[in-house]
């Protein structure tokens, strides 16, 4: 197991490249600070796999999920600290870099170290509580033994173990300084966990542990890592997926001062230099001929959209069922009144602010390496590194760096980027930092796939939905990202289909099905995952059905949610806080009920459309039920951020591909929303007290239909094709 403390001050270091002439600036080298070294200094005791306590009373709590802005480096330790009864001001959070999946893996993600799907709190909540309770028990038993009093008389106060009868107390630091710790304590049962009324940390608004460093620009991301003797690598990447360099003319590139080597790789030519600017300059001079046999050469995103729509409309196309309730086909056939509508979404790019980078230093024997990577999965990345070096995972010394945004971009990228960094370092026998420019990142993005949706519903004479069919046409993300899992998945792609089961709605006959389209470019999950496109289509369609049934959008949804108390509560809450339907002159409101997994949520958008058809979202209200809000202020931040992310996508983000080449390059032609474009946002948390679930995705799925429905209310024009920042007539 290794851990590191992400937020510690840097150790000044003088790089050996000779480029630096002063040390006074400090800063510089990697700030990764080893927990083990520190443990010795402070007389730290390992209480269990998750907690160690130093004699000065500092409590170090480990967390596994990678920090990419969602706040897990605070919220997970907070859960443990609650049961430990730690003094929060004495807590340090340590990132688990690697370690046994049996101990550290996320039970909701195949028990591996993997951060995605808003599953950190949901996956680790129970485990962190039990680890904290067990550690507290060690402290209580140890103090009781030293005081020679019955364990039952000993209790804790924040940071202290207390024996009330004799008025004795010991700080946690004093307990670990005792000659003997009682580690053999009875297992924690549910009854040993604090009842909710006694929580003082969970549900409180402690400051995020990473925020002070982030306000000083002092976090080290993988792109910031610098190592003694390090070289820089830029890549000239294949213009089309699947192509490989055939002829490389590098005479001019090699002549650039500082260039170390030019190395052809599978899908790129790497330019390695003593400085990054030399690598970039030499890349400009490189002439590479590429193979031209890749099937992806024929990818054309406009033509693909038409193919997807045609497949959605073609009942003969094979579709794999995702969810079946009752007999939707028969009910639709026999119904007097069937409504249907088609929707689509286009490719979108993650646009995480930190371009991808990987830093690797391969050992002299070529069979091990130290790696610095901002990754959504330590386990996957270490596995890839071991495979590349044909070695065992224990030879990979891994540093899980904080990420400058993830959003799904940093799941499997190690397959290419880390692989290449390792190959370069191995060949040159020097540490290497491989960086992508923004253009590299856009042109080689893994996009949320384009999708087409056909929805059909039967309405009875009461205006109730009696049958429902949601047909989704999309390439499989799972097949590309996790081929091993896909082989066992029975054509069930949760990354595309989740949400389409519409479990909250009381619809007796329902089928959700997936027409698996050919993959035409690299695809990945994007914040909100399948829920983004699926909830856009569904909630637009619900408004169309409500109109057909002459019902208002709120009443119509309330009927569908009649068996779903959590759903009703967020719907009612958002209607109340937005005063739904009372938009000022020239604007209109649109509603969407769209959660993510077990987190229920509903949103209302207030929009206007100008004379040129440009949409502006002025206000957005959301009500969210995450079960328990572990860290409410951060939950609000996540929902706000997710709403902005969703709005950005639905208004103006679009990747197009022609001849297999991505046509966008950088933020000037793929531009996320800026500060002047965002609405006033109001979020209300509606806790049901159910098991806590995630927040990272939750803002996104509600946005699409809320805005589209508002545009309809204002203009009478349905927006069925995302993006629609420019109103379609």
């Amino acid at each position: 197991m290794t851990y590191h403390k992400p937020n510690l001050s840097r150790r000044a270091f003088l790089a050996t490249s000779g480029a630096l002439s002063v040390a006074v600036l400090g800063g510089g080298l990697v700030s990764v600070f080893r927990d083990a070294a520190e443990a010795q200094d402070l007389g730290r005791s390992e209480i269990n796999a998750w907690v160690s306590i130093a004699r000065n009373g500092r409590v170090a709590i480990r967390y596994t999920s990678g920090e990419m802005g969602q706040g897990v480096s605070t919220s997970l330790p907070l859960v443990l600290a609650e049961e430990l009864d730690a003094d929060w001001s004495m807590v340090d959070a340590l990132q688990v870099d690697q370690g046994p999946p049996a101990t550290f893996g996320n039970p909701l993600i195949n028990n591996i170290l993997y951060t995605a799907g808003s599953l950190s709190i949901a996956g680790y909540f129970d485990r962190m509580r039990r680890a904290g309770a067990t550690a507290r028990r060690v402290l209580v038993h140890s103090a009781a033994a030293s005081w020679r009093v019955p364990v039952g008389e000993v209790t804790t106060e924040p940071g202290f173990v207390v024996h009330g009868r004799s008025r004795r107390r010991m700080s946690f630091g004093e307990v670990v300084a005792l000659p003997q710790l009682v580690t053999d304590v009875p297992a924690i049962t549910d009854a040993d966990l604090k009842p909710r009324e006694q929580w003082r940390l969970i549900g409180s608004d402690v400051g995020r542990l990473d925020v002070p460093e982030k306000a000083r620009g002092a976090i080290t991301y993988s792109i910031d890592v610098r190592l003694p003797g390090m070289v820089y690598a830029a890549q000239l990447l294949a213009p089309v997926e699947g192509e490989t360099p055939t002829v490389t003319t590098d005479t001019d590139a090699r002549a650039v001062p500082g260039v170390v080597d030019i190395i052809p790789l599978r899908n790129a030519v790497a330019v390695v230099a003593e400085t990054w600017e030399a690598a970039l300059a030499a890349r400009e001079l490189l002439k590479v001929e590429w193979s031209n046999t890749s099937p992806f050469r024929s990818t054309d995103s406009a033509a693909e959209l038409k193919e997807l729509a045609a497949a959605a409309a073609d009942p003969a196309r094979e579709a794999f069922p995702w969810e079946t309730r009752g007999d939707a086909r028969a009910a639709l056939r026999s119904s007097a009144r069937v409504i249907s509508a088609d929707y689509s979404t286009e490719y979108v790019y993650h646009a995480q602010m930190e371009p991808l980078a990987a830093v690797a230093a391969v050992d002299a024997d070529g069979k091990g390496a130290e790696v610095w990577l901002g990754t959504q999965s330590q386990t996957v990345s270490i596995g890839i590194a071991a495979a590349v070096l044909q070695t065992t995972p224990d030879r990979i010394r891994f540093h899980a760096m904080q990420m400058g945004g993830g959003f799904g971009r940093r799941t499997f990228f190690a397959r290419d980027l880390l692989r290449d960094a390792l190959l370069i370092s191995k060949q040159l026998k020097r540490p290497v930092k491989l960086m992508w420019t923004r253009e590299d990142d856009v042109k080689n993005g893994w996009f949320r796939p384009a999708t087409a949706h056909r929805l059909e519903a039967a309405l009875d004479s009461n205006g109730d939905v009696t049958a429902w069919r949601h047909r989704v046409v999309s390439a499989s993300i799972l097949a590309f990202a996790m081929p091993d899992n896909w082989a066992k998945a029975n054509n069930r792609d949760f990354l595309v289909m989740e949400g389409a089961e519409s479990a909250d709605y009381a619809i007796p006959n329902l089928i959700a099905e997936h027409v698996i389209a050919d993959r035409r470019t690299r695809v990945a999950a994007w914040r909100g995952i399948g829920w983004g496109p699926n909830m856009f289509a569904r909630e637009c369609f619900i408004d169309e059905l409500a109109a057909a049934a002459n019902a208002d959008p709120v009443a119509f949804r309330r009927r569908l949610l009649r068996n779903n108390e959590r759903g009703l509560r967020v719907l009612d809450a958002v209607v109340a806080i937005s005063k739904f339907g009372t938009a000022p002159q020239g604007r209109a409101h649109g509603l969407s009920f769209a959660g993510y997994k077990e987190t229920r949520a509903a949103g209302v958008a207030e929009v206007s459309v100008d004379g040129e058809g440009r949409v502006r979202v002025h206000r957005f209200w959301a009500a969210v039920d995450p079960g328990v809000a572990v860290h409410p202020n951060n939950l609000l931040a996540q929902v706000e951020g997710g709403i902005i992310f969703g709005l950005s996508g639905l208004l103006q983000e679009r990747i197009t591909i022609a001849g297999g080449e991505v046509q966008q390059s950088n933020f000037y032609d793929y531009e996320p929303l800026r500060i002047g474009d965002i609405p006033q946002i109001e979020v209300q948390i509606v806790e049901s007290g159910a098991a806590p679930t995630g927040a990272g995705e939750i803002g996104v799925p509600m946005t699409g239909a809320a805005v589209a429905n508002a545009i309809f209310a204002l203009t009478g024009r349905r927006q069925r094709q995302m993006p629609f920042g420019q109103v379609r007539s």
Binding site: A15, A19, L20, S21, V22, V24, L25, G26, G27, G28, L29, E67, M68, G69, G71, G207, R208, D210, V211, P212, E213, K214, A215, R216, G217, A218, I219, T220, Y221, D224, T275, E277, Q352, M353, E354, P355, Q402, M403, G404, G405, G406, F407, M435, T437, R438, N633, A637, E640, G641, I643, I644, F645, N666, F667, Y668, P672, R674, I675, G676, G699
Partner: protein, 150 residues
């Protein structure tokens, strides 16, 4: 060998005079608080002060920076306690944090020129800086707080 003035210190660098200041700061001088986001003046992650003006470090060649006062996030305040940095903590603004040095540097130039900005001034002034995590509402609030609390 060009000499730069960075955060009050005179420093020499042997980088090529055409090198964007961004790479000189980050990779030669180790001042990695200034971030690379786009390299083309579209995101503001690299925002620094050049003689007090908010400037994209990716758009300034080293030779053009010589003779000017350069301030990076590391030099904004002696102890990381600039009113904006305190307000950033109070409002819990950062998420991933990657854009935040640039945001704070731009906000600091804004407040230096306009100590009591209106909401509109803030939105106009901060327009060059992207935040993909969507911290904009808190950026605006933090700037207002800093303007108030000084």
């Amino acid at each position: 060998m060009p000499t730069l003035t960075v955060n009050g210190n005179a420093v020499d660098t042997n980088a090529d005079p055409q090198t964007p200041l961004l790479w000189v700061l980050r990779e030669h001088l180790g001042l990695t608080g200034t971030k690379f986001g786009c390299g083309v003046g579209s995101c503001g992650a690299c925002t620094i002060h050049l003689d007090g003006e908010a400037t994209f470090a990716c758009q300034v060649p080293l030779e053009a920076a010589v003779g000017h006062k350069i301030t990076t996030i590391e030099g904004l305040s002696p102890n990381g306690d600039h009113p904006l940095q305190r307000a950033w903590i109070a409002e819990q603004t950062p998420q991933c944090g990657y854009c935040q040095s640039g945001q704070i540097m731009r906000a600091a130039a804004l407040l230096a020129a306009n100590p009591k900005p209106s909401r509109e001034d803030i939105i106009d002034g901060m327009a060059p800086n992207l935040c993909r995590c969507g911290t904009y509402p808190r950026i605006a609030r933090a700037i207002e707080r800093a303007a108030q609390e000084g």
